[in-house]
């Protein structure tokens, strides 16, 4: 705790009280990584403000001593977004978890940033509303984290990602200043500053409150499970469905490795012998749903689907979604460790990228499963490894990198919803020119002129070697 002098500690204690400060090494140990466990680094101090005022006072105190910080919500991120890098202080929003106001008439809700994603929907579902972005970690991840990563989820194909659902933000800038961006109204003029903060991964300050859009629950659903002999035929069906003009609420694919893991874990009746399955959910007005579902089933069959099953009731539908949303964890039953990639390709390139992935799997001798948002071309190859086997961590990282490179070559992107974090920062120059990165840095400096807010994330430092992860980090590989 060399960077934190006693006067600063006294000041922080005066702001937060002793209960909201964690400074002993044993306790800080559990904060050394999030869902990206490849790299680890403990903060020197963890601060847990309960209100915007406390958070702002903490940020001002750190600013006066030029101490950098890293924000953290529930720590479910998958790209190391809250890994402390040259940031002694960690500011956690988990105690800021109040739902401030629900405004059904205007279909919006104001929440503190530490509110858990699913708790928003739970609070409004009795009245027939929901909050649309639904990442697989929604039982635990916070709205603040969702905003930082611009999170998605299965239903973003139809409903859009987090940025499409944030109307206004209260942000504390790195010097402690509290600013309001956007607002409760649907249409705004001027620059889209909310858009600049959403997806900035905490490099523009810390979001303390958000006004979110509420959606009306669709009148009904049809949820189909289609089994295919191989991933090729399944991806053809995806393209056919989208091209037909039918827009499903969600269109998800799982390959055989994942299907088997999920079936072993949850016994939902997935076909273990299928090469791939699609979960296709149609939602909207009851009128026309059956016709759409029939059309989708016919298209799936024309692409070679061996079976198309319709979830008979809400319980069956819930079970399918439970299986899909917990697929990542179920993979934990197959191997001690995994790394999840998050590349995006144009939908039509899905068959090609899946061939690349299986080739990468052979080349690095690592099993790779695929569970992903097929409808929007957002891949989640899950690379299985065992950190106890020498060299496997390195191979897993290299394999992930090869997949991302292929995504970019096909005209895709590095991340659909997990963020760049530290995981993919080395690949940013593959996607962006030095000019692009310079402009991004300038934008970031408008919010954070001294570069103290989540340093070392998103934008690679000029001059850093881009082929490997940032060299100053202690990478346990």
């Amino acid at each position: 705790m060399n960077s934190l002098d006693p006067p600063l500690l006294d000041e922080l204690r005066a702001i937060l009280g002793i209960e909201a400060i964690v400074s002993r090494a044993t306790e800080l140990k559990v904060y050394e990584c999030d869902g990206w466990t490849v790299e680890k680094s403990s903060p020197d101090i963890l601060l847990m403000p309960r209100s915007t005022a406390e958070l702002s006072a903490v940020m001002a105190a750190l600013d006066r001593r030029a101490i950098a910080y890293v924000p953290r919500g529930a720590g479910t991120g998958l790209s190391g977004g809250c890994l402390p890098l040259n940031a002694p202080a960690m500011i956690c929003t988990s105690k800021m978890n109040r739902i401030v106001e629900i405004d059904y008439d205007n279909r919006r809700v104001e929440v503190e940033s530490g509110v858990v994603n699913l708790h928003v929907t739970n609070a409004v579902k009795a009245r027939g509303y929901f909050y649309a972005p639904d990442p697989s970690s929604q039982v635990a991840c916070t709205i603040g984290g969702n905003i930082a990563e611009n999170s998605g989820g299965p239903h973003t194909l139809k409903y859009g990602v987090t940025t499409n659902h944030v109307l206004g933000l209260e942000v504390v800038l790195p010097d402690g200043e509290i600013v309001e961006l956007g607002g409760p109204t649907e249409e705004r003029c001027g620059y889209d500053l909310v858009g600049a903060v959403v997806g900035a991964e905490g490099t523009t300050g810390i979001v303390t409150r958000a006004t979110l859009r509420l959606m009306r629950e669709p009148e009904n659903h049809r949820t189909l499970l289609a089994s295919f002999p191989d991933v090729d035929s399944a991806t053809r069906a995806v393209s056919l469905i989208i091209a037909s003009g039918i827009l499903p609420g969600a269109l998800e694919m799982m390959d055989q490795l994942i299907t088997r893991a999920v079936e072993d874990a949850f016994h939902v009746g997935l076909p273990a012998d299928a090469g791939a399955v699609l979960i296709i959910e149609l939602d909207g007005l009851e009128a026309g749903l059956t016709a759409s579902a029939d059309a989708v089933a016919t298209m799936a069959q024309s692409c070679g689907a061996s079976a198309v099953k319709l979830a008979r009731d809400e319980a069956e539908r819930a079970l399918l979604w439970k299986a899909r949303k917990r697929a990542f964890g179920a993979v934990g039953r197959l191997a001690p460790n995994y790394a999840t990639q998050d590349g995006v390709v144009p939908r039509t390139c899905l068959p090609q990228i899946l061939r690349v992935i299986s080739e990468v799997s052979r080349r690095y001798d690592l099993r790779i499963g695929n569970v992903f948002h097929a409808g929007d071309g957002n891949l989640h190859p899950i690379i299985l490894y065992d950190e106890r086997v020498p060299g496997q961590v390195r191979r897993a990282i290299d394999a992930g990198r090869d997949i991302l490179k292929a995504c970019i070559e096909m005209g895709g992107s590095l991340t659909g919803e997990h963020g760049i974090g530290v995981e993919k920062i080395g690949e940013m120059p593959l996607l962006f020119s030095p000019d692009d990165l310079r402009v991004m840095t300038e934008l970031r400096h408008v919010f954070d002129p001294k570069g103290r807010s989540n340093p070392g994330k998103v934008i690679p430092e000029p001059g850093a070697c881009v082929e490997v992860a940032a060299p100053r980090r202690q990478v346990p590989i």
């Binding site: 964690v22 002993r24 044993t26 306790e27 140990k29 559990v30 904060y31 990584c33 999030d34 869902g35 466990t37 847990m48 529930a74 720590g75 479910t76 956690c92 988990s94 105690k95 978890n97 530490g114 858990v116 970690s137 039982v139 635990a140 991840c141 874990a265 917990r326 697929a327 990542f328 964890g329 179920a330 993979v331 934990g332 039953r333 001690p336 460790n337 995994y338 065992d386 950190e387 106890r388 020498p390 060299g391 070697c465 490997v468 992860a469 060299p471 202690q474 990478v475 346990p476 590989i477």
Partner: protein, 428 residues
């Protein structure tokens, strides 16, 4: 880039089953299912955080110190995280291992040591428990408990507040039931240790209900504590002794189904197979006994139990942790309650969040237990129900104490007692 040397994680300390730690992929989906995380919002008080502490201890990256013990102690062992976990982490086994490790390697402060030895020396032995409570029975008979409270130190007062009124609560002998059909399945109700002293009506009502539903109720000759208290407090050796004694007794009973009015005991028995797997002499019997564990509501539903009369009231159902997260029983008790004419069920929020009782947890961790007890009763009171029905005596004491404190009109009652009340108008 300077390649750091390849780090190979090897266990250097025998904290728990090291390989089981690798089931956890650090996704964090468990944290909001953990009552202590919900209360403190700090990750060292979450399942993922505790697993990380165990792993760091096992790998020698952390030393066992006051902080690590503190956060391991604060776990309720409710297993809410096992329900939430997509990776199938055996958290219960991990925390039991870690607790035994703590007891082997850490010297507690005097008061804590005293508190824990008192629980350990008295609770598993009904005779000792009765002897210790004898003076309080007299106090209660004279109606002097309020006076007694005022002169006791706070720690003792908190313990006594958890006890139901003891006057008139004399040990009830097992009773004979009408002869069942010759081929009726044999059922044993394991009477437990604390339960047979403080809540024997739950055992006897369970037996009456099962007998009336056509089961052949078999009594155990001697009932040892199931060992759960010891497993949860790191005393593995005695837990194994208790488990062996129970396995032989339960095997001799020839039971087709085994249950306990305490869901924690049911789960402990259901895990005997795992617990005794390394003892060849008894491993097969332990597995066989474990596989026979059932719960009251499922047995009654299977036998087609119906309420003999109408009983008009509102009820909210609290999921005892080990019943819901351990045995996975959630629907059966609700279906049973809903089948009683006149009973209206009002669901509370967070019905499967631990009430803070957690075995002897409310005696060793009173602050957290009180906080969770208050949260639970907030949710109960919000339903406005006449009864909160639950299937575990520990939850009943904890919730009843909290309801008494806030002078609520809601009554906490065990499922077996409630069914007796609904059927006969009387718990006894």
């Amino acid at each position: 880039m300077d390649e750091a040397p390849i780090t190979q994680s090897m266990p250097v300390q025998d904290v728990c089953d090291y390989d089981l730690l690798f089931d956890c992929v650090h996704c964090g989906l468990c944290v909001e299912a953990c009552p202590t995380y919900i209360a403190t919002r700090r990750e060292m008080d979450s399942p993922r955080g505790r697993i990380y502490l165990m792993k760091s201890l096992a790998e020698g990256k952390l030393q066992l110190d006051d902080d690590s013990v503190r956060h391991l102690d604060l776990c309720l062992g409710c297993r809410g995280c096992e329900t939430a976990c997509p990776s199938g982490v055996h958290y219960g086994q991990l925390i039991e291992g870690a607790r035994a490790f703590v007891e082997r390697n850490y010297r507690r402060r005097f008061f804590d040591r005293f508190r824990r030895s008192a629980v350990s020396a008295v609770f598993p032995y009904p005779l000792r428990m009765r002897a210790l409570l004898a003076p309080l029975v007299i106090v209660d008979r004279l109606g002097l408990r309020p006076a007694l409270r005022t002169i006791l130190p706070r720690a003792l007062r908190d313990w006594i507040d958890l006890l139901p009124r003891l006057a008139g609560a004399r040990p009830l002998a097992p009773e004979a039931h009408a002869a069942p059909a010759a081929d009726a399945p044999r059922v044993v109700v394991h009477h437990g240790c604390v339960a047979q002293v403080l809540a024997n009506s739950e055992n006897l009502n369970s037996e009456r209900l099962l007998a009336a539903a056509g089961y052949r109720v078999v009594h155990l000759e001697n009932t040892a504590c199931c060992g759960a208290l010891d497993l949860h407090s790191g005393n593995a050796a005695r837990a194994l002794d208790f488990a062996r004694a129970n396995v032989s007794a339960l095997k001799r009973s020839g039971a087709d189904a085994i249950l306990s009015a305490a869901s924690g005991c049911s789960v402990a028995i259901a895990e005997y197979g795992q617990l005794l797997k390394n003892e060849p002499a008894i491993a097969d019997d332990a597995r066989a006994v474990a596989s026979k564990v059932k719960d009251l509501s499922s047995l009654l539903l299977a036998a087609g139990w119906t309420a003999p009369r109408e009983f008009r009231c509102t009820v909210t159902y609290h999921d005892a942790c080990h019943l819901a997260h351990g045995l996975g029983v959630r629907e059966a008790p609700r279906r049973l309650l809903a089948s009683i004419p006149g009973v209206k069920i009002i669901e509370m929020v967070e019905s499967d969040l631990c009430c803070g009782s957690a075995g002897s947890y409310n005696l060793t961790e009173p602050e957290m237990a009180r906080e969770l007890g208050r949260r639970k009763t907030d949710n109960i009171v919000a339903t406005g129900a006449d009864y909160v029905v639950l299937a575990n005596p520990g939850c009943e004491f904890q919730i009843a104490a909290e309801l008494r404190r806030r002078k609520s009109k809601t009554t906490a009652i065990h499922l077996a007692d409630f069914l007796a009340l609904a059927s006969n108008g009387d718990v006894r």
